[in-house]
Symmetry: D2
Subunit: 309 residues, 4 copies
């Protein structure tokens, strides 16, 4: 089997953590590195969280590089209301067994993409600062990126009435990615809100008899509690996890080719994605956008994956 | 019965035309004036269309005042793809029997609001330029406006991916209205897309045996054809008509108190309304927003109204 | 002699007041009306100040119309630090003998321009809100405006590091005027700062033995004191007065044809004029810009004018 | 003598080239590295130009690192009208004897600042992209930067009516630098236009009997010719050279402590510096701004320096 070489660029974060876990379970994915970014929490916290999850799933050989501590041009804002103070509240996880790499996250991305014999797929599940920095420093890496499969955006918002958190947190970085010409697949709120870890889903996870699944259960319980409190949702949408699932099981996803651009200048709308579902803008297609998830298929896939640990 | 004094500020436009017709059928509404604005078509066209509809429903005593020919600070754009070249393509209507008033639309609004012994309700169903000009020239009229019941905005767009046409066409005017402190009820795309004149609805209208209903049928047939072509809708949403229906039968509408503001500075998002359904912005309530329509009740109300002619 | 028909659109304001006085002294100018605007002070204050000056120079037949109380889309800000609380601190002037017209300032402009057999010259010496409103309500008046001779803008600022007060106070109105296609002559800070009422100038004015000159002297003394305090200037620049002088004695002014546009979107630069002296923008000429004043000639002209009262 | 450790961050460019030459002549300056940026010409050209100048003045031990090829978020634009197609038209210089470093310019800055036992002074004479990238990747380097002495900005513009080229070319980078809290000294157009290489100055340079001075003469002749053509100047202002002169001979400069910020959002004014000379903004001091140059002293200093080669 041909494996897909991937870089996980993330800000763990509950759903980022589960993404790493899912990726670790898939023999068809080769994780080249995990790069971290400030987002759900400050950069030290998201990096430590990534290292903890690596320990949990025995990814000891995978480099974890600390990336951007702040957005390209805006002030940093984090999301403790959703992910808790540590960025990964809920389960008790041991302190990481190692530290992060000496290399900045953006440099790890540049180096690995340059070195790879086959094009690399990048899965950003936080603000897009590291990807933007990599493109700024080494524009030529575009030619060896297979696809960017990212979580971000939506036809509606969660952090403001029109903006989703990842894009909102660094709109200029996001715009640079969408304008780059690299093939992009986008898991936005329209599809991630279909992937709701409801009580029934959590029950299934909790029945799996291994340590990793136990931790995932605890992550989902905490995540569901904050979503209940803030948005009155019947479960937590496991946003980021869809990027990994899409790489392995694209048949679960109904995608549409559209133009997506990012507002960077608005007074109230900075970070809003304009997803041109009806072709009203005349701008040309630059992304595949996730419309519909095979919800049952997705959760079966997840449960099977967790049973492997 | 206490009648409600209303001013129809409109850009006919198929749904504006049906709004005027519906208003004319309601004994509980006293139409003080019809003021027109550039929007669906240029100002001369929307004004002539308003006059033609007045003739159709015998509103000979109601002043029709031509208002703003262009937005406050932007270039004018119209919507011939939706409403045809005349702004009211479809039925053949005789030339109007009279001309418009000498008074500018914004001055008619100012004068009537100042003169009225009871607070006046204004129903804008086009860009909000006239209302903004009236507020600019005579801020004190705020105190004698009962409510502004407007069609505009939405949590998604129709003219751009995020903006609805009326607000998009004059965002600065819209912002002034939303910031004015006047009580506002908003029929946005979220609710107007529920009021779809489907084939079944049009059949019912066509069965009514009077001239006005016949014209309304022709308006709906044309309107449905352009919505089919541009958006692949199964019928035409009669957006503007909901403002009149709300004044007479508010029990058909489930509204939510929210903050609404308008983006005026975005590169791609000018004219986008930010409707804070989940209270994430911390901005205080300034409008009632239409969430859910009793669809059956609404069409029964419409059919009964048309039977009166 | 053919007189020039002018409308003074102003926000008195010390230099506006002296402009009215200068205009009243000139037989070659026919003042059709004085329209007021919020600017140096709130609209009631600037209107009362205009009426007081009319009484001072016996302009009893000239309509004074109160205009815009706030900018097109921004919040009102005034300049009490420069003009005092009344907008015209310094001399004691009797309460006005009459009130303002019933007509809004913008409507007076529209009416007079429409009625005039010969094209009218408009001299705005405050924020350009009234002119913008007139153009919004009646775009066709453009064809009967000879020229707009305005005080505003500069290659540097006085209210912010880059913006002059009149343009800064209503940038959107100013942009509309500069984009209108009407012939425009601009007295910006580059030339108005040459017209400094120094101690020597004030001495000359104070030696003139009539009541009007005495009042002008008092206006200049107060104005010079605030300019000394805020900008450490050796005298007060009589900005607005240059518009009237230019209408009568254009030979005192070295003008350059340039493109001028107005920033309306900046975070720090809204209201900044871009005066393309070196033709670097490629935008086409839309104004004459005042570069150099015959300073001695100007003050001689002023002194002679004041002696006539 | 205590030497000052400096990094020259530049986009040669005629005046950048002369800056390097001047720096090389000064025993009190230790050049840690030269980092290049896209600006006057594309990054490959400015880097090759830097290498050529290093050869000219025997700076073989100084690392030359290629930096940013494009601004943080905007499209790249260069200035061939001023500096010719190569970025350094005029003299014939041999191809460089070596290539640039493997390290990106921003990483060279980060490394050298981190490694240095004493605080480092950075002299940016092009767009500020490298400095911004360095601050993004390693915010902590701020603590070991003595001062940033930059050429950029002005109370008027050269590239637009209000913006100077270096700041205009990457406004977001410039804003990040001005907002960084690092001590900053600014050579803006107000002072660099005083440093005019007139015919008399060029004569003096041409009389110096060494190869370096001969090349400087040729650089000045070309530079003066484009300034004559584009701005009708009587000589070329050697903008960038003032940064080096200031480090060695600050007594030639009259500076003022002011607040400087950069417009990044304007439609026409992006890249405009707001230099608050009169303290009208209330924003606190973050820079020293060059007001007045001892012109004679400056040229004496230059001539003496060139004689040393
Ligand atoms: Ca995430
Ligand atoms: Ca309408
Ligand atoms: Ca004034
Ligand atoms: Ca340079």
């Amino acid at each position: 089997m041909q494996t897909k070489k991937i870089i996980l660029d993330c800000d763990p974060g509950h759903d980022d953590a589960i993404s790493i876990i899912l990726a670790a379970s898939q023999p068809s994915l080769e994780i080249l590195a995990i790069t971290t970014v400030s987002g759900n929490a400050e950069i030290e916290k998201t990096t430590i969280n990534a290292l903890k999850i690596c320990d949990l799933v025995s990814l000891s050989g995978v480099a974890v590089s600390k990336g951007a501590s702040e957005p390209l041009i805006r002030l940093r804002e984090t999301a403790p209301g959703i992910h808790g103070d540590t960025g990964l509240d809920g389960p008790e996880l041991p302190e990481p067994s190692r530290s992060w790499s000496d290399e900045h996250g953006c440099d790890t991305i540049i180096r690995l993409v340059k070195e790879s014999k086959v094009p690399v797929t990048i899965l950003p599940t936080g603000p897009l600062t590291n990807i933007a920095l990599a493109l700024l420093k080494a524009p030529a890496i575009k030619d060896n990126i297979e696809e960017i499969v990212l979580m971000g955006g939506g036809t509606f918002g969660n952090w403001t009435p029109t903006a989703e958190f990842n894009i909102w947190a660094d709109p200029e970085a996001a715009k640079k990615v969408f304008d780059s010409g690299i093939p992009i697949a986008v898991m936005g709120l329209d599809i991630t809100h279909q992937a709701l870890a409801t009580k029934e889903v959590i029950d299934q996870v909790q029945k799996i008899d291994n340590h990793v699944a136990k931790i995932v259960g605890e992550l989902l319980v905490f995540f569901a509690s904050t979503y209940k409190e803030m948005f009155n949702f019947a479960g937590a949408p496991v946003h980021d996890v869809l990027t990994v699932a899409y790489c392995v099981a694209p048949e679960l996803f109904k995608m549409k080719e559209v133009n997506i651009t990012v507002e960077t200048k608005g007074e109230f709308t900075a970070g809003t994605t304009l997803i041109d579902l009806h072709g009203v803008t005349g701008r040309k297609v630059n992304a595949k956008y996730g419309l519909e998830l095979d919800v049952e298929g997705f959760w079966s896939f997840m449960i099977e994956a967790l049973k492997k640990f």
